[in-house]
């Protein structure tokens, strides 16, 4: 019997050689990816809150090849962080906003290697380039928009706000910012970095985008059973709301209003995916793309080169999600697996 104890002791001594630390991927390819071109798509996988499992997936639309964990593979196995919110390409650089890690990772757009990590944010959400010098970063808890100096990759200042700021839009040197918890769009003079006014919308403003007639469209999810969700169109020149389309059900939580290339039609998620024209005055009665059992449409993107629609299915949030690639007419081209909670799409522009 004592021998058993000795054997066990020896076993535990042997264990000293162990080197793996933290979560490991079971059968993931580990090779880094090198070049990207304008037909490629980057998928931001949010990951679970506090689990640190955010990741980036890379999709070559021409060959239908999928590469998961590209950030990790390009950066000696390091995790991207906790809750990756959005990504943006500016020139040769990718800016990945990692919400709960309070940082923006600046990556080389050709190989995903880290160039720099910008910290000092509170809970960053989206990034909006204003000119070659600066960008705005919206924030969930900071009560401020951070001004990012694009040359030095440092925070050069802040614009105080009241509450949660979400997606942003730049039009004629004016920034329009969704003020999620205050049911309004903030209007910012980008020359002076000051808020010059606001436009009242519905609760939970989560999307903002511009159509071909230079009208701004926003989508309000209505909060959680607080208000009927709505689509609001306003004229930025006189700040007058010209159209409000109400949803039918207070429990609904629509999101991701996204325009096509010529900006005359848009799609959005409301459990299923719906498609509308800017001239429509009511919601479509039937979905454009229907979900299957257990699907949870969570993110959406339209490719600027061919109008193909990419839909992220987060499923149950705890396993890897799916991405569906549809033609603009609504036929499925390809379905593939991405990371945990795929949410944002970035279409490379070079």
């Amino acid at each position: 019997m004592k021998y058993l104890v000795y054997i066990l002791t020896l076993l535990s001594l042997l264990s000293c050689t162990k080197t793996e630390l933290g979560p490991q991927c079971e059968d993931c390819p580990k090779e880094p990816i090198t070049t990207t071109n304008f037909t490629d798509v980057l998928i931001v996988n949010e990951g679970n809150y506090t689990n640190g499992n955010a990741s980036l997936s890379f999709y070559k639309s021409e060959t239908q090849e999928v590469y998961n964990n590209v950030y990790s593979n390009a950066n000696s196995g390091l995790p991207l962080g906790d809750v990756a919110q959005s990504a943006l390409q500016i020139g040769d650089k990718l800016y990945v906003v990692v919400n709960n890690s309070s940082k923006i990772a600046v990556l080389d757009a050709n190989n995903f290697e880290t160039i720099q990590t910008i910290s000092g944010f509170n809970s960053p959400r989206y990034i909006l380039p204003i000119n070659n010098q600066k960008a705005y970063v919206s924030d969930l808890y900071a009560n401020a928009i951070s001004i990012l100096d694009l040359n030095t990759s440092t925070i050069s200042g802040t614009i105080p706000t009241n509450g949660w700021t979400e997606k942003m839009l730049l039009h004629n040197d004016t920034a329009y910012v969704c003020n999620y918890n205050n049911s309004k769009i903030l209007i910012i003079n980008t020359a002076t970095n000051t808020i010059v006014g606001d436009i009242a919308t519905g609760k939970g403003v989560n999307s903002i985008t511009l159509d071909k007639n230079n009208k701004i469209w926003v989508l309000c999810n209505g909060g959680i059973n607080e208000e009927i969700p709505s689509i609001v169109q306003f004229n930025p020149t006189n700040r007058v709301i010209e159209k409000t389309i109400l949803f039918t059900d207070i429990t609904h939580s629509p999101s991701n209003l996204t325009f096509n290339d010529v900006k005359d039609e848009f799609v959005f998620i409301n459990q299923d995916v719906f498609k509308m024209s800017i001239n429509d005055n009511s919601l479509p009665s039937t979905p454009f793309i229907t979900r299957t059992t257990g699907s949870l449409f969570y993110g959406l993107g339209i490719s600027p080169i061919n109008n193909e629609i990419y839909i992220a299915d987060a499923k149950d949030y705890v396993q890897k999600g799916d991405v569906y690639r549809y033609s603009y007419s609504g036929s499925l081209i390809h379905q593939f697996e991405a990371g945990i909670i795929p949410s944002d799409f970035l279409f490379f522009n070079q």
Binding site: M1, L4, V5, L8, T9, L11, S12, L13, S15, C16, K18, E20, L21, G22, P23, Q24, C25, E26, D27, C28, T50, N51, G52, N53, N75, S76, L78, P79, G81, D82, V83, N100, S101, S102, N122, S123, Y141, N221, I224, N225, T251, H252, S253, N270, Q271, T292, T293, G294, S295, L296, F297, A314, K315, D316, Y317, V318, Q319, K320, D322, I340
Partner: protein, 625 residues
């Protein structure tokens, strides 16, 4: 404040008589009927309890049950692949599981507050109450009417700003028994760890990990002929920072826990009748705060637990057991909109019979929870002695148990669903037990194969509406093997050796697809290790003792599709202690413990680093009369 006054009131009780020595352990009345239990159970005795500071650490090192530890604070349990709320925790007969989430935080139980712990596996949990789908943890305090007086005061100091002070006294005279424990700990937990989220894994220091906890327990029991009456009171207050994962270090969470427990017990026997009445109140308050987002929550729960147990010894071979449990649960929390209350009652009827070498227990529990009734929750145990002269037994055990949805499942805003069904577990196990005592060594070996199938398992799933909702959608099959070996040398030997090994192999498989193309189907549940092993060996010669303990937690997945896993960890501890008799009344025990002897860098949960090698020095001054 009120509680503090209460403590002050009791202080003089033991202060004037303060003296005492080695932790005084009283004789236990754990197995009231001195027969071998016919189900699988692990007893962690008082001697082993001394080797750990918290219940989490104790169970981790002395059984193969998995403790999910978040580092410095928060620890939950997983028995045989089930969830944290599927383990019932009882304190001297009173249920401690929160009516809100059904769980207990195992990091908040200092070992000084109890004498021993028994872990009951599988269907045998039904004996303790409804809700135990995986097993139950039973915290016991003994009552000793042998005239005595003993007291121990201990001071521990360790790495990373750790100071713990405790006092434990008990005395008995004229059929009165009183015991008192006091506990205070202050831990900075500012330990270095390898930051595996940065290039080169630099060594950094854990921040925002402080913990202060104090507590107090007082029991007074009186024996009159063949009856005993007693009250037991326990209070603790804990103020701690919850460490954020390395990947989100701007999060600053803190939590204050306060718990008040009081129970009244009356037991005795009249002719062939054994009776026991228990009445207890458990009040738990949790104040949580996230300082950067100013997110606060305040939870208050009350449990009123009443137990009437009547055992009739019909003859030498037949016992009829009647158990009425009237429990009232109350919760008041931000997330529940208004105060929630319900009765959670049950009635257990059981017969234990003995024929020659076979013991059979048949029990049934009738459950009445809220408006719902579940008349049939049975459990059949059998113990069969294979050979007449050898202590070789076969154990067979099967049963059904239910776990009712918690208040959070039913009423949480947003998402709670009042129409949820109870979770149901069908369990079966079979085991071999062999005991042998020789002049050189005593051994106890046990091998068990278990199976349980849980249906209507409640899981919270995201919805299209922007919040999560609980659903009776999961079905899980848990099966595995448990093996244990306990060795000890008879007391008379000059060198006393004791050792135990506990091993479990668990396959915990998701059997139901929740969606099309479900990658979690037929996969191992997250944070259920396939392999878990713990062992210790202790040797004592004259007044010096040395203990080595080892704990292995195998690979466990962190995503339900089993793409990502946490690597196995192997942790060793070493304890050296020496006892000095100062005179015939006083003694001094000094012990030095090295935790994580080989300085393993590891994380039990993703991105929550555990401490490397660290030291704890403990001095105990004991008095005995």
């Amino acid at each position: 404040m009120k509680h503090f006054l209460f403590i002050l009131f009791f202080l003089p009780f033991f202060c004037f008589a303060q003296t005492d020595t080695t932790i005084t352990y009283t004789t236990f009345e754990l197995q009231e009927d001195k027969i071998l239990p016919s189900y699988k159970t692990t007893l962690i005795d008082s001697a082993r309890s001394k080797t750990a500071l918290t219940l989490a650490e104790l169970i981790q090192n002395n059984s193969a049950v998995f403790i999910k530890s978040y580092g410095t604070g928060l620890a939950s349990i997983s028995f045989r692949g089930t969830g944290a709320s599927h383990t019932q925790v009882l304190w001297n007969g009173i249920t401690l599981n929160s009516p809100m989430n059904g769980q207990v935080d195992f990091s908040l139980y200092p070992t000084v507050f109890f004498d021993n712990v028994s872990l009951n596996y599988g269907a045998s949990g039904l004996n303790a109450g409804n809700g135990a789908l995986g097993g139950s943890v039973i915290l016991n305090n003994g009552v000793n009417f042998t005239p005595h007086f003993k007291s121990t005061i201990q001071q521990a100091a360790g790495s990373f700003g750790h100071y713990t002070t405790s006092l434990s006294s008990s005395f008995s005279k004229n059929n009165w028994f009183s015991e008192t424990q006091l506990y205070y700990t202050n831990q900075q937990n500012n330990y270095p760890y390898k930051n595996n989220t940065e290039i080169g894994s630099p060594i950094e220091t854990l921040d925002n990990a402080k913990k202060i906890q104090y507590g107090f327990q007082q029991a007074i029991f009186k024996r009159i002929k063949n009856q005993t009456f007693g009250v037991r009171f326990l209070y603790y207050n804990s103020d701690r920072n919850l460490v954020a994962p390395i990947t989100s270090r701007t999060t600053k969470e803190k939590q204050q826990d306060e718990s008040v427990r009081c129970l009244f017990e009356w037991k005795g026997n009249y002719k062939k009748l054994h009776y026991k009445f228990l009445s207890g109140i458990v009040k738990d308050v949790i104040n949580y705060e996230e300082t950067t987002t100013n997110n606060k929550s305040n939870n208050e729960t009350y449990l009123f637990d009443n137990l009437i147990n009547i055992k009739l010894h019909l003859n030498k071979n037949i016992i009829i057991n009647n158990n009425f449990n009237i429990r009232y649960e109350v919760a008041n929390a931000n997330g529940l909109t208004n105060k929630k209350k319900r009765f959670n009652n049950s009635w257990l009827l059981g017969i234990s019979q003995k024929y020659n070498r076979i013991n059979i227990d048949v029990i049934n529990r009738f459950l009445m929870v809220g408006d719902e009734q579940q008349p049939v929750a049975p459990n059949v145990n059998m113990l069969f002695q294979l050979l007449k002269k050898k202590e070789l037994y076969i154990k067979v055990n099967t049963g059904i148990n239910y776990h009712y949805p918690t208040f959070n499942d039913l009423f949480w805003v947003q998402g709670g669903d009042a129409n949820l069904k109870p979770e149901e577990s069908k369990m079966a196990e079979m085991g071999l037990l062999y005991k042998q005592n020789t002049p050189f060594i005593n051994t106890k070996t046990e091998l068990t194969a278990f199976y349980n199938y849980v249906t209507n398992w409640i899981i919270w799933l995201p919805t299209e509406f922007g919040y999560w909702q609980p659903k009776n959608l999961q079905e899980v099959e848990n099966k595995g093997i448990e093996a244990s070996l306990e060795l000890s040398s008879p007391k008379a030997k000059a060198i006393k050796i004791s050792s135990s090994v506990h091993y479990t192999y668990t396959l915990s498989t998701n059997k139901k697809a929740k969606l099309n193309n479900d990658n979690s189907l037929e996969k191992q549940l997250i944070y259920v290790p396939y392999h878990k092993l713990s062992y210790y060996v202790a040797a004592e010669y004259k007044k010096t003792a040395i203990t080595y303990q080892f704990n292995y937690t195998g690979k466990r997945y962190v995503t339900s599709d089993n793409d990502w896993y946490m690597p196995a960890n192997y942790i060793s501890d070493l304890i050296l202690s020496r006892k000095m008799e100062l005179n015939d009344k006083f003694n001094l025990v000094g012990s030095f413990k090295v935790n994580n002897l080989f300085n393993q860098d590891y994380q039990s949960i993703a991105y929550r680093p555990m401490p490397g090698r660290n030291y704890l020095l403990n001095i105990a001054l004991g008095f005995k009369k």
